[in-house]
Amino acid sequence: MAPAVLAAGAVVIVVLPLVGLLQRVSWSSLISDLSAHDAYVALRLSLETSLGALAVALAFGLPLAWILARRRFPGRSLLRGLVTLPMVLPPVVGGIALLYAFGRRGIAGQLVYDLTGWRFVFNTSGAVLAEAFVSMPFLIVTAEAAFRSMDRRGEEAAATLGAGPAYRFRRVTLPAVAPALAAGAALAWARALGEFGATITFAGNLPGRTQTTPLLIYLDIESGHEATALALSLVLLAVSLAVLVGLRDRWLGHP
């Protein structure tokens, strides 16, 4: 009996807020709330920046996952720990850290700014960078586990048949890890889409440039535009749910 009661507590903590959100959504004005200019601009920007962050994660995170899984070198565990840190780091701390690295007076940011006059802060690229920072570890962790645990006999057989490394990777390794990669990519994308703390701290908040959907939701709630905030929240909730349903075989799978 006692475990069931306590378990109900967990369900209440997790599920009740969602019920609360749903019961406050103004369903009749949903379409008009979402097609309002600000909302549309923020949703489009969110789509662009989250896909941009996913592209960054795939381009740079995937090779890193491969190296972490297949190469042995000193400090590998430390490196793995460091690159997965953003998964548990408070995003606002990440945002401040990004400022010190890529801000106008940051380690790399100052150099880039002095040489080219270009910067991440207050630019869409900054929002992409902030989202990549928090979401890339999800891809790295999933991909590394897949690279590590896959059955390597196929790769070995291909090698004995004379297939080069690139061909082996493309035709044998990639198909073998594709489901895991898709799951990692979906997780990373969903995390990027919901990013708030690092973005507002590092990139700023300007409609069409850095004001992604979570930022607009926050500002709308603050300035009394509850209907728009709830409509946008519903969109993010639906997307999260869709990602979860897509991953159900991996996570919620069969007992």
């Binding site: 209440v12 801000g103 700023g204 500002l219």
Partner: protein, 274 residues
């Protein structure tokens, strides 16, 4: 096989929903009970020591002054557990509307105060301070900004506060009256985060209150905006009706108008109410 988990899920949702409704009901009744109990307590008003927990929700620009006043307030009433919640006035309004446990609300403008007054959540507000706007730039003013018109210069990175944040709204009104079109690079959630963009070197300038520039010390340089352009910036304060400690709340409001809090405000550069 499939239908059982679904049915469980549905029953969980129903249970959660009914709990939510029950929560609403009990919440309303506690508020009623607490307000009646505070009425009895507030009959023992001035003179007697102020005790208990007091939550003051105050505009971000009041951070320095209110914190400075805390020492003398708690020194005079050791039984007082004074807590502040500083944010943009519009954020605080949203929080109080959602039932956040505030005893006192101090706003940086009358518009946000009026929102809560109209909602019937506050006792009658009183004005306790006035302020002025000032341009904040990097130390030594490397971009040579001399006035509002310079904020529109190309190459000058400006951040302002978001729509609804009092300082941002005041600034936009002044800029519009001067026919100066500024394209801010970011719209910050309150004066402190706008100022932080200048102190971190990301922005060249922002517009905040005179008191914010003063509180930031050597981290920024202030560029004065002439009195003829200054908007009327008044800070109202009010007791929150649903608060649990109305006696302490009223004492705090009194202190803000003419006591230790007012002294701290003056020391921080706020102007007394007219």
């Amino acid at each position: 096989m499939r239908s059982r988990p679904v049915r469980t899920l549905v029953s969980v949702f129903t249970a959660a929903a009914s709990l939510a409704l029950a929560g609403c009901g009990s919440n309303a009744s506690t508020t009623g009970a607490s307000s009646s109990s505070t009425t009895t307590r507030s009959t023992t008003t001035t003179g007697s020591p102020v005790t208990g927990t007091l939550s003051v929700f105050a505009a971000a620009s009041l951070t320095g002054a209110f914190n400075a006043a805390k020492t003398s307030l708690v020194g005079a009433d050791p039984g007082l557990d004074l807590n502040y919640n500083f944010a943009g006035s519009n954020t605080l309004v949203a929080q109080i509307e959602q039932g956040a446990p505030a005893d006192v609300f101090a706003s940086a403008d009358t518009r946000n105060m009026d929102r809560l007054v109209a909602a019937g959540l506050l006792e009658t507000p009183v004005t306790f301070a006035r302020n002025k706007l000032e341009i904040a730039v990097a130390p030594g003013n490397p971009r040579h900004i001399t006035g509002l018109a310079d904020l529109a210069k190309p190459g000058v990175t400006v951040v302002l506060e978001a729509v609804g944040v009092p300082a941002g709204d005041y600034t936009r009104a002044v800029l519009a009256s001067q026919h100066v079109t500024v394209n801010p690079e970011s719209l910050e959630t309150d004066v402190k985060s706008a100022l932080a963009k200048v102190t971190s070197g990301e922005a060249d300038a922002t517009v905040v209150y005179v008191t914010d520039v003063r509180a930031a010390g050597p981290a920024v340089t202030g560029v004065t905006i002439p009195d003829s352009l200054q908007p009327e910036i008044t800070y109202p304060i009010a007791v929150v009706k649903a608060g649990r400690n109305r006696a302490a709340a009223r004492a705090f409001v009194t202190s803000a108008v003419s006591g230790a809090v007012q002294k701290a405000l003056e020391a921080a550069g706020f102007l007394p109410p007219r």
